[in-house]
Symmetry: C2
Subunit: 384 residues, 2 copies
Amino acid sequence: MSASYPVVDIHTHMYPPSYIKLLSSRTTVPYIYQPTEADNSPDSDPRLIILASDDDPSRPKASRGRPVDSTYSSFDQKRSFMKRHGISCSVISLANPWLDFLDPESALETAQGINDDLETACAKNNQSSDHGSLKLYAFGCLPLSAPAKDIVSEIKRLKTLKHVKGVIMGTTGLGKGLDDPDLDEVYSALASTSTLVFLHPHYGLPDSAFGGPEVVARSGHVLPLALGFPLETTIAVARMYLSGVFDRHPKLQFLLAHSGGTIPFLAGRIESCVAHEREFVANGGHRQGPQRSIWDVLHTNIYLDAVIYGQPGLRAALEAAGSVDRIIFGTDHPFFPPLGNEHESRWLSVESNKGAIDGTFPHDEEAKKQILGGNAVRVLGLDI
Amino acid sequence: MSASYPVVDIHTHMYPPSYIKLLSSRTTVPYIYQPTEADNSPDSDPRLIILASDDDPSRPKASRGRPVDSTYSSFDQKRSFMKRHGISCSVISLANPWLDFLDPESALETAQGINDDLETACAKNNQSSDHGSLKLYAFGCLPLSAPAKDIVSEIKRLKTLKHVKGVIMGTTGLGKGLDDPDLDEVYSALASTSTLVFLHPHYGLPDSAFGGPEVVARSGHVLPLALGFPLETTIAVARMYLSGVFDRHPKLQFLLAHSGGTIPFLAGRIESCVAHEREFVANGGHRQGPQRSIWDVLHTNIYLDAVIYGQPGLRAALEAAGSVDRIIFGTDHPFFPPLGNEHESRWLSVESNKGAIDGTFPHDEEAKKQILGGNAVRVLGLDI
């Protein structure tokens, strides 16, 4: 990529040092394991064990999960990745599972600390003349295990941090999913502060959905990552939609990871099943269930990232979004590194997402410009 | 629809009378319950309880599942539906859960009986002058709980039935999924006889994938049908692909229900996760896991029906299939009837699928002709 316009990556994660320290202090998922000599492991990088399925007790700890090298926490390496791929601005977000696992007492303080770290790092980067025109912004994290008033207060405080441009959130909400009525207070705060929510999966599906743990184990991380992640997002968004969250909070703004899981592909089927659901029309006349069409929600409340690795998915995303203005480039860095030498080559994962955009718009520079940067600048109000 | 070319519906189910009798003799899922006066139910139609989630013990039996009226078993009503929607040919298939639940001893004989019934009904229809130009063909069913030799013998016998143009199958195979190595003998027989497999979901996802049975119950059938069904297909096909079924059986021909679940949307992500999977490249050099790209499989081994209820999904299906030649019209009749008066109006479920095709090809009659009928005629060798 060497574009004449800003290229903004809105799906790019970091575990800032304070978060690495937090995970390293833990021994249950999520945690970071530092191999010792006793492990006799060929690789001395710490291991990041973030998925329940990573923590397979039949494997030695030194080979569970994935290696977590400095790519995960180094701002220098983030910038180096950006330069190599022609990315002028990254909106970094804490990677999953964010703060979902914290006890209620420590959650607010931890969230504030991490959000302040992100703000400081972005401010320092953007004010420095050392990094050329590379800019950093961030999505903040929320103390979702804390009492609702603490969550709301952090949502409001984040508006005072100049480089924080929204929040990243998983699919469990306060612990019971995104259709939990207790989230209404949080949704109201998000809507009234015009805070964009970057919704990202983490928990995947239970192993039983894939046929059991032995089936999952046969293909490494492929089933949980390739399917579990997007299907988790799909279910979470469908539950929100069906429970009327977007009816009650018509100003909510969500950015969905991985082009919406599979929502763009299945939106028509969801709409059809709602229209044919006896429970929703049982009382003759007044329809129960969601009042707005899912297309209206997609066109009004939802942005989709372009992390979909192929033209078929991107086509569906564009068509479901109703406009090129709602699709936003991302990389998912530092995940999916090339398995050869991640420090030298251009990343296949980035090239396939970029290639899908180029292939879909071979003769439409304006569309590419919007997806690769213009939309992010406009939607997040980036100063670049 | 009033086209100047054949319109073929390849996704249209029937429970022929012999199958209705079988289900009516059962009291565990799948079964048909005939309400009695004691039920004091406003509706006297029998109830079809086919999904585990339908059989909710907290509800009276007379309100579990869905009403099963004569639409499910009447050839006259099938023809009436066809006429009303301008469909000239239907390739009928037994609806889920087929014969998955039979004990091994009775499975072969039951399959033969039902397949013979389907053949006879189609032959009688096509020879009669009473039905104008309306033609019927069928997908047969397999005795998958029987020993492999019985399954193979029925696959071979079906080739002698002139109106049977393939088989319909669920995602459990012999009970352990479609990546079960014990299926290789069956796949060999399907490939060597050039038998098209119509793959259709039934089991959905476990309730826990949606957040538990209470979450599912809040939206009637929407979560199991709108998401559970296509996600089941997605997982089943991904497991087949990852286990190398299409490497070992490069001539297999599958038709995937509901435009492939979500495979078209997620194919790029699956491909990317395979390319980035450490387990598959662990032994340096020779890649483990699937040898063919998922795009090659989609372009060679897979057809997709067009039962996707919207343009975004259809776009992805077309793009993933690589050609308009691999997308085939269907209706899913008699499911998703209009909730008002199903005997008079045109069905919304049909119109939305037809509308997606029209909307995608507003000026391309040739593409519409292929999707609506030409592809089915060519792929199945229909004599119409």
